[in-house]
Symmetry: D2
Subunit: 347 residues, 4 copies
Amino acid sequence: MSGPHTASVVGGSGFTGGELLRLLSGHPNFEVVQATSRGYANKTVGSVHPNLRGRDLRFSSPADLESVDVLFACTPHGVTMERIDAFREAADTVVDLSADFRLDSEAEYDEWYDGHDRPELLEEAEYALPELNRENLPGAALIASGGCNATAAILGLKPLFEADLLAGEERIVVDVKVGSSEGGAGGGEASSHPERSGVVRPYAPTGHRHEAEIEAFLGTGVSFTAHAVDMTRGASATCHVYPEAPVSTADLWTAFRDSYAEEPFVRIVAGGSGVYRYPEPKAVAGSNYAEVGFEVDPKNGRVVVFSAIDNMMKGSAGQAVHAANVALGFEETAGLGFEGLHPVGSP
Amino acid sequence: MSGPHTASVVGGSGFTGGELLRLLSGHPNFEVVQATSRGYANKTVGSVHPNLRGRDLRFSSPADLESVDVLFACTPHGVTMERIDAFREAADTVVDLSADFRLDSEAEYDEWYDGHDRPELLEEAEYALPELNRENLPGAALIASGGCNATAAILGLKPLFEADLLAGEERIVVDVKVGSSEGGAGGGEASSHPERSGVVRPYAPTGHRHEAEIEAFLGTGVSFTAHAVDMTRGASATCHVYPEAPVSTADLWTAFRDSYAEEPFVRIVAGGSGVYRYPEPKAVAGSNYAEVGFEVDPKNGRVVVFSAIDNMMKGSAGQAVHAANVALGFEETAGLGFEGLHPVGSP
Amino acid sequence: MSGPHTASVVGGSGFTGGELLRLLSGHPNFEVVQATSRGYANKTVGSVHPNLRGRDLRFSSPADLESVDVLFACTPHGVTMERIDAFREAADTVVDLSADFRLDSEAEYDEWYDGHDRPELLEEAEYALPELNRENLPGAALIASGGCNATAAILGLKPLFEADLLAGEERIVVDVKVGSSEGGAGGGEASSHPERSGVVRPYAPTGHRHEAEIEAFLGTGVSFTAHAVDMTRGASATCHVYPEAPVSTADLWTAFRDSYAEEPFVRIVAGGSGVYRYPEPKAVAGSNYAEVGFEVDPKNGRVVVFSAIDNMMKGSAGQAVHAANVALGFEETAGLGFEGLHPVGSP
Amino acid sequence: MSGPHTASVVGGSGFTGGELLRLLSGHPNFEVVQATSRGYANKTVGSVHPNLRGRDLRFSSPADLESVDVLFACTPHGVTMERIDAFREAADTVVDLSADFRLDSEAEYDEWYDGHDRPELLEEAEYALPELNRENLPGAALIASGGCNATAAILGLKPLFEADLLAGEERIVVDVKVGSSEGGAGGGEASSHPERSGVVRPYAPTGHRHEAEIEAFLGTGVSFTAHAVDMTRGASATCHVYPEAPVSTADLWTAFRDSYAEEPFVRIVAGGSGVYRYPEPKAVAGSNYAEVGFEVDPKNGRVVVFSAIDNMMKGSAGQAVHAANVALGFEETAGLGFEGLHPVGSP
């Protein structure tokens, strides 16, 4: 390889777009040549993302896409399927951070979304949650980076399935707590500071679209409920499951180690001493790490699984870079070495 | 009745003690004549509780109890059972805010706590969650005010049981989110601001003692898990249940209205427009109101029930006053009229 | 007097409108007969203000004003001067919470605002900061309730002027920190939770309009700078002054006691033990109290004065009720007895 | 140079110690060989600093110091002066993050601290705020890294002095807002979450020790007041100055550019569009950047200067690494490239 790959970020003024701009410029294998924004064309990226104020890069119009090696699409759901031909013409590899190509079939888009404009591409698109399916990614030309809440839930539950600790007809409760950045930039009354600070607010009591994503890749349905809580970054999933046969703490350690011992971005945290004994979004804020952990509830025949990620990183921009690293044959952890901060107030 | 009842608050420098001092001085039927504190004797109540800085009352030593009509014990678990004879000598009515007299049998205290010093009093003591058992309270001389997390869970689930929507062997998941005041005053590393702010922290993954309280008064076990989140006041319970027969939204409205239509402190909030569509601690902060609500998940055969209270009010001090009002024949809502604030940052 | 006075709240869906609705319904001398809202006509007040969900009151259109004794105008700046004839036709007493009638002369409105539509009314209008000028209020028919930041600054500095501790040509720095409710309801990007939480943001570095209000009623100019910080309610003013002659702590105690010993809503907090040694918005959140305090800096010949209020209460709705109480001859503290909460997270 | 320099962190379990461990392991020229802790000896660094959970490093006792090239002392004030001989025996270069060697003379330590044990070393010690005095650092063997609040104030005011915009006898007000990490790890009642969240709390109204540091290195006294606000990381200084001659915005731009155009870690932010128009701690959280900006107040003859840093980075650990980079001849920005996060809740 001679020199870094060129990359563009379409939808660069949103939160995940800004996160990608940050990650890619610290990445040894990428050079950002374009960031687009409809609303902020000709403004510096630092005028929107204050952490990037030192950068000498201005947003350009999404109408004029430069030719690059990799195009990251950080556009709202529905835009990538609409503009996919232009994206693919501009880049050999398209990594989409929206939900537009995550599910396998048009039927699922009919059920969970407003249908799909380009169903013929669904089979080609590769879902990317590297811990789940990294073997599918090398050489992929259209990558659908996994969603934040789905990633948290899948990473927590995967070891139980891989170790056959859960049988088929389980009722799995996934109770999720998320930060305000999941709502995206721009505002609105419900996300205004006076109304949004300090909340424990059920915002998706039932029927969240990530149920489809979890079901598709975990092979089982889950009962998903999401609450908004007072943080900006972070998604925390608490999964309550009832195995048919009793499960011990040792069984769980074995299962989680079997699944994740070699994973560069997954940490198992289950008990121990100190303040941080279980997975917490605060412990992974700003990083691409996921924390997973568990506790056995013998009285109720229950296993409680905890999973925590930064929704902006492992839940979107970091995962997209991770997927691109695998797809293009880079070091998996390239550009993703930041460990996060301690202490950090509200991530 | 000639004049207000005299009252004392034992353990008046803690959070619930301060809340009681606030409530009782605005109460038409009570006059506070004593507040005790081991650590702050001779200091003004306002030196500890800044909202009470205008008050002309000083803490006295708990060794010298004055004779009063009602003694409210806001002491840590274990103290009331140790000092109960002194408390009963000082007052005709003792309202205990700790867990010391909430459960029915010594066996339960052996299982969930460190045993019990005075098991012969357990039968006499009346548990007090007025929406559950107000008929037991008039004339009671030893009242055990219900616990915060148990109150939230019981209020959410009670309509389902009263309407026979749940059969016996259900697996009920109660996923709770609580504020930092549940840890009490004083501090410690885990509750220090840098470590505690912005958290979603599993602090009682399994085996929380309130499971016993819920089971005792709801008649069924629950799978309870509590998380600390970034608020000071508030407890929010999300209960995930799977009725045997399909349940409709209309069934739930009927059930909840049947249970709570006449309750002065329970509001049913389930859908609607605006920012606050389900129960939220933020909507009841500072008040004695509980909000309960629900959503049907037909895909998964699930009902999700939400319940929100201020743990310092409906979860402790407010509930104690409510119980005393019923016990002594006062207006149920006396002293508890405050509606709460909007907006409030982090309650 | 036969029965309570009737009152209406115009602009009842905003934050100060909601606060007034809360206060007036707990007020022994008022009965709310109308709350208007352009955007929420026919909706319940509880659909906007979740703390008022138990209320049986719906917003009506501001086009149809009912005849009442007192009309409280909680409309944005500019609206009252436009609709003042309709307001005065509907009510004997109009209490305006905006800045429309706070300043004395048209020239000041030309300088600080966009001019004034009805300058002939400026002389009749009475500014209301009761600690400053309660003697002007009895019988007033058009009352301009003092602004939040001005109230905080004036209450802190007033004792210094009354005790002649400051001479004429002082440079007074007023460094203010305010909560997000000052921006009003509705949202916008800068006040969205991800962008607004955790900030120390200079939002009015110089030239804040409240400088005019402070100057008008204190008789001296001040150098005012405001920062947004992470709370919802609250305004805190730190005033840095350099008296010409040395001032002792005892001098300051004397000055502050002379000014405020008889004031029902002002507490002097200056040193002492415990966590809360100086004025803090957190200590007065939800209440109509103001806290004022000070510290002498002998090394620099400086006096630092601290002042803290709840901008929604002493800074707007509470002050308006206080002013109405004085104007109509009610008990000054009527309806304003709430002491605030301890602890409260972020007020 | 053959291979990286070895480094140890004494006091590695505190907040600044953890930050240094994070920075040094990502630094191309350093290898951490020891981290000491009295309280956590033999525990992993990740058991205290959750962001470092992936690290294979355990705390050792501070009694057994390994020989290294550079020793960073993150101990409380007073410890370095007590243990300085052992530190210097263990390392060629000692970088102290406490105040023990920041001031020039024993007399100053007598005035502001509890005297000094080793005054003969004060002359040799080099204060390190690289933007102020990087020319003194190459080859220094005892480095006193500048304090957080002093750094914020000095960086804001330095351009005014360098451009001769301020004459000698000015009264300079420095009104500072800081996060909870300045209080260090461990807790205590005032820093407990219920009491500390949401505050605007005067914690150093007058007489803060950083006045001495500012005066020593700026050559003028300042009137310093610090407030605790609701963030974990961050220090924001608002400086109010009254130049003798009128100063224009263009004058200030020239002055600030003259001082900082070549500085790798200082950004000038003064007006412009968007949400972040002035320096904010939130915009630099986690990074070593300082933001400085200003506004002219012609009405009052005032200049307001704003300065924002992350107290854990530019205010302590980052500054120490920056100083070590200069002292040892490394690239100045080595190990300090992280740009910070957007959005971040409460930094």
